[in-house]
Symmetry: C2
Subunit: 315 residues, 2 copies
């Protein structure tokens, strides 16, 4: 296990798992992607968890992700604010993308466990992460574990974290907990936060609670559209009215969560940017119907929601 020798600060705060824009022919639209990333960083996001679940990252090939990361860096985005998702079912795929991210200077990588085989032993998962880390073989590598059992079905147990932290305390540095189960996040915080383990809530619903219990922020789907307000809570969470600001976040998220999240996020961006192409998703996902998109837009408007300064077509 390589030892980390650098003093880079850890990413903290609000990260968005950036949705990926596609053209009508399902190709990635790099220009719109870069523009949306810039908007997020200028509007409340401390970092970008590109290639996450909400990015449809598993609907993209490794090569597509490498090229998209390069496009983002070529556009001048600071790699120190990036935490690309690099986990994959095959060790070779996870190594290729993780190594590219580390060489590019990314602050960390967010790693799903291999998610095809179910009911695998922690021993096998530990060997998987150990193999990826030793093959990337770079002391700058910082791995954030990605616990999202509702989707991956394969989770990251406390025993597994203990083992990985023991084997690579400078490498396995944090987690995103998207279990939706606060009692799990709390158990992770209680066991590991004091030792410097960086715990991100997987939803802004838990941002305030996570910060109050030793967590470092959230990596949240709704960050794609509501990052200004989420960033404001992060900046002021110890000030008066934080609970009210949290309630407002939760309310906005609940409007999106009435629909499948990724199509809903893209429908909202399409609406506020005036760019209908944003609604495109890759199969097997399905865009909201026009009626659904209209109802969502109406409910967001009634809630006073806006996305100021969002790039519009041609910008």
């Amino acid at each position: 296990m390589p030892k980390s020798s650098d003093d880079r600060p850890y990413l903290r705060g609000v990260l968005s798992p950036v949705v990926t824009p596609f053209k009508a022919n399902l190709e990635i639209d790099k220009r719109r992607f870069v523009a949306h990333c810039r908007w997020l960083l200028d509007n409340g996001c401390d970092g970008l968890a590109v290639f996450g679940t909400n990015s449809e990252a598993n609907s993209m090939t490794v090569q597509e992700k490498i090229e998209l990361l390069d496009a983002l860096l070529d556009a001048g985005v600071d790699p120190g604010r990036l935490m690309p998702g690099t986990g994959a079912c095959a060790i070779g795929d996870a190594v290729a993308l993780s190594a590219h991210a580390v060489k590019s200077g990314c602050a960390g990588v967010l790693m799903l466990p291999p998610f095809y085989y179910k009911n695998v032993p922690d021993e096998g998962l530990a060997r998987y992460f150990g193999e990826v880390i030793s093959r990337v073989d770079d002391p700058r590598l910082r791995v954030y574990l990605y616990h999202i059992p509702p989707v991956a079905q394969v989770g990251i147990s406390l025993d597994l974290i203990t083992r990985l932290r023991r084997d690579g305390p400078d490498t396995v540095v944090g987690i995103k907990d998207s279990s939706g189960d606060w009692s799990n996040t709390k158990a992770v915080l209680d066991a590991f936060a004091a030792g410097g383990f960086q715990v991100f809530a997987g939803s802004d619903d838990f941002l305030l609670t996570n910060l109050r219990n030793g967590g470092v922020g959230c990596i949240t789907a709704s960050g794609n559209v509501n990052s200004p307000a989420i960033g404001r809570l992060y900046a002021t969470w110890e000030q008066q009215g934080a609970d009210d600001r949290q309630r407002a976040l939760t309310q906005t998220r609940s409007l999106l969560a009435k629909y499948p999240m990724i199509p809903a996020l893209k429908a909202a961006i399409a609406h506020y940017s005036g760019d209908p192409d944003w609604a495109t998703v890759r199969p097997p996902l399905q865009a909201l119907s026009p009626a659904q998109a209209e109802t969502l837009a109406k409910s967001l408007a009634e809630d006073g929601f806006t996305m100021p300064g969002l790039p519009r077509p041609g910008m």
Copy 2:
């Protein structure tokens, strides 16, 4: 949707989802793979479903699979007996491997649905298969759908089959049903077998029942070790004693099924070939412990099980 213009016979009978041998460093051992494929074809297998669940195919990169398929063809194995697994979460990956298989002359491809996102609509799955088929764009392509909800969690519904058969009757030609639920296989047979849809049971447990109800064979994990007996039942299923032969298959499979299937298959091959390297699996899977492997070997021996003519190290 391209129309099929050839008169190749459909693959039928007993197919093995061939386990993939790895070296200690987890590299694929092509030599041992080719030798095992040859043994299977000489010992009861009508075809080889390489790159299936039992092949640890999702623990291999697309490039590794392309090179392994090439190695098999270079060794002189008839592509007309091959049905490689080519489904993937990303359309680009499924297209790359499917196109290579078709160009290589493979009899068909066995396609998992994209399995990361859960609870996706049939509409999205239909678009996924449609995109892959139209991008491969080759009238020789024959797709067998792979229904394995216990692992993939994303299944192939009867409605989806209906839709895919309507859109591409000459392309979407069959299914492997690994639900383990005979009532589902029966429903698929009742709905589609009369129209020429090729229904493989996903386990030799259902071989006889499937054949008696209009199915065409099985694609079965235990085919990796028990292909001689399974092939014998297929060849004689309409003759006296078929039920006894089926019971014997089910008994052998039950001995393997006391353990995780892939490690058990590899432990059995390691034992009967005298080649301990066969036990190696890629993470996240874990090999049987020596004690487990010994107990399995003992139970197989007590059952009178053998693997005659299995290639031994150095052969």
